[in-house]
């Protein structure tokens, strides 16, 4: 199971045309137009190398892991555990024991809320989140607060969609036990000052949980530099298959946490009287793990490393600037989310049409965007919009994609104005 050796990716300039060749779906037509895929924040497309890796796994190596003595099981186990090492490197975790495979960001947050939160929170304690969180970083905390009697606090944002730092500082206090926030907001694209937020939380001894779902495909993650306690992200938004993701946790915290789910693989010995749990990271991986998903995700991580996450971030920043400029030229269009530090997202409303109508017209033009509340209803209320249109970028998007978006929006204006 080798990684790619694509010559496409060598060199110093960012050749988006050659990167596009790595993604077969971009060659398809939609409604008579070339596909313009701008719904990457919802789910990203897969490069050939990920598709091939999955294909090869199922054709050549498929078996259960950590169990069989036979060749296939050993091969599958090796590939699966290689995936852990690739994941460790991808986020610069200190050890393999700190890398737990989960179904995705949502499961990662729920695991922390139920295993860490439920055993550490009590009445009077506070969990702090921000106004820009995805529902998956709100609801798990509401649930655990209800279970433990802790209180959920929400840090406000300003009209650009940026955290209000003074409020954050004021809200982090002696009662604060957990601070959970997005690295990058899915609905706005705001990049939070995560390093400072972690530092602030640590001043009062609170534990930090970072939702990295939108960060993983766009920038280099270094959990040791961030010094965060937990960090979680999904594979499918970073060009890997659906149904797999990573939860990073500091070893001393994970060791002290009870298992979240019981079953096979997470145990050492079982009798009806007593069960001894397995060591990290297996303690948190009950049942047959997401074998193919992890192997596919490792292929995606290797791909991103070969392209270079710093190059991707620089290219996307330029593309975002171009897209912002083009959208601002459209009369009656209002950008939602204008933070100074932003990545990958152009969220907007138009005066002539509801986001849902805009989405239908764009789809007809082959342009895929997300319309709706983006699983962030409190944020929509804050900006007093029912929904937005969200165009979200990935490493394979180019100026032509954004030009197609703008042409589609001009059609919207002609039809509805």
């Amino acid at each position: 199971m080798t990684g790619i050796t694509s010559e496409n990716l060598k060199g110093t300039t960012y050749d988006v045309a050659r990167i596009r060749e790595d993604f077969p779906i971009l060659r398809r037509e939609v409604n008579g137009h070339p596909l313009v895929y701008l719904d990457n924040a919802a789910s990203a497309q897969k490069p050939q190398v990920v598709i091939d890796t999955l294909d090869e796994y199922y054709r050549e190596h498929n078996a259960n892991v950590h169990r069989g003595l036979h060749t296939l099981s050993e091969e599958a186990t090796t590939a699966y555990e290689e995936g852990r090492e690739v994941s460790r490197r991808f986020i610069n975790a200190g050890s393999l024991e700190e890398v737990i495979f989960v179904r995705g960001t949502t499961e990662g947050i729920n695991l922390v809320a139920q295993s860490y939160g439920r055993t550490h929170l009590q009445r009077g304690d506070e969990v702090l989140i921000t106004y820009m969180e995805h529902h998956s970083n709100i609801v798990p905390w509401q649930i655990v607060c209800e279970q433990t009697g802790a209180t959920l606090k929400v840090c406000p944002i300003d009209e650009h969609g940026q955290l209000v730092w003074e409020s954050f500082e004021a809200l982090v206090g002696a009662r604060t036990k957990i601070v959970a926030f997005a690295h990058i907001s899915n609905a706005l694209g705001t990049i939070n000052p995560v390093r400072r937020m972690v530092e602030k939380a640590h001043e009062v001894g609170a534990v930090t949980v970072i939702d990295g779902a939108q960060a993983a495909p766009h920038l280099r993650i270094d959990v040791q530099a961030l010094d965060c306690d937990f960090y979680t992200f999904s594979g499918h938004k970073m060009f890997a298959p659906t149904g797999v993701g990573v939860l990073y946790g500091k070893k001393h915290l994970l060791e002290a946490m009870p298992p979240w789910q019981g079953g096979g693989d997470m145990i050492k010995t079982v009798s009806f009287e007593r069960t001894v749990y397995n060591a990290l990271p297996y303690k948190f991986e009950a049942g047959t793990p997401i074998i193919a998903g992890v192997i596919g995700m490792a292929a995606a991580m290797r791909y991103l490393e070969e392209v270079g996450l710093d190059r991707i971030a620089a290219y996307e920043a330029e593309l975002l600037e171009y897209g912002t400029r083009r959208l601002q030229e459209i009369p009656g269009l209002r950008l939602i989310g204008t933070a100074s530090q932003k990545a990958g997202v152009l969220s907007f409303v138009m005066d002539v049409a509801h986001p849902h109508d805009i989405g239908t017209i764009l789809s007809h033009e082959g342009v895929a965007v997300r319309t709706g509340h983006h699983c962030a209803q409190p944020l929509m209320d804050f900006f007093q919009v029912p929904a937005t249109v969200r165009a979200s970028l990935a490493l394979y998007n180019d100026r032509d994609d954004l030009d197609a978006l703008v042409r589609g929006l001009e059609k919207v204006r002609r039809l509805f104005a």
């Binding site: 409604n31 509801h354 986001p355 789809s363 709706g372």
Partner: protein, 154 residues
């Protein structure tokens, strides 16, 4: 299937755009006998329907609507169709409209609402067109609770 092969102009006919821009019977009623709210949490369509019935006849109808053009137009045309008619007729219209969305022949005269028949080619938009009708049924059933597209299915 194949929503995109149909020109958006077939979906957004002039009649629909007109009702979408200037919905009829807009505003809340002073003393409604029935009301219901409709919510499509997926796309953010939201409306409140007010009815004043007398002797099982819809004497007055009022709408508060913050929704897409399809939802707004459907609500507006619905309000014109059922106003002044019997409750039973309104419920027949609701059934007929749902039949239209399901690709069947509506059993009742639907007038301008037939202009929404192209919506059925856009499966993700059918809920938008049906929201006002679910609210109408909920209001007439005496339900004060909110109806959402997610609970009513379809």
């Amino acid at each position: 299937m194949c929503a995109g092969t149909i020109e958006p102009r077939h979906l957004y006919r002039d009649l629909i755009l007109d009702h979408g821009r200037r919905p009829r019977n807009l505003g809340r009623l002073q003393r409604p006998s029935h009301r219901a709210e409709g919510d499509n949490p997926v796309c953010g369509d939201r409306l409140t329907l007010f009815l004043r019935l007398e002797d099982e006849v819809i004497r007055e109808i009022g709408l508060e609507v913050r929704a897409c053009a399809i939802c707004t137009a459907s609500a507006s045309m619905m309000s014109e169709l059922v106003k002044g008619g019997a409750k039973t007729e309104a419920l027949e219209c609701a059934s007929a409209f749902k039949a239209l969305m399901a690709g069947q022949e509506p059993a009742t005269h639907l007038g301008d609402l037939l202009s929404l028949s192209a919506v059925r080619q856009f499966p993700s938009r059918i809920k938008c067109a049906e929201l006002a009708w679910h609210a109408l049924e909920a209001a007439l059933a005496g339900s004060k609770s909110m109806v959402t597209t997610e609970e009513v299915g379809s």
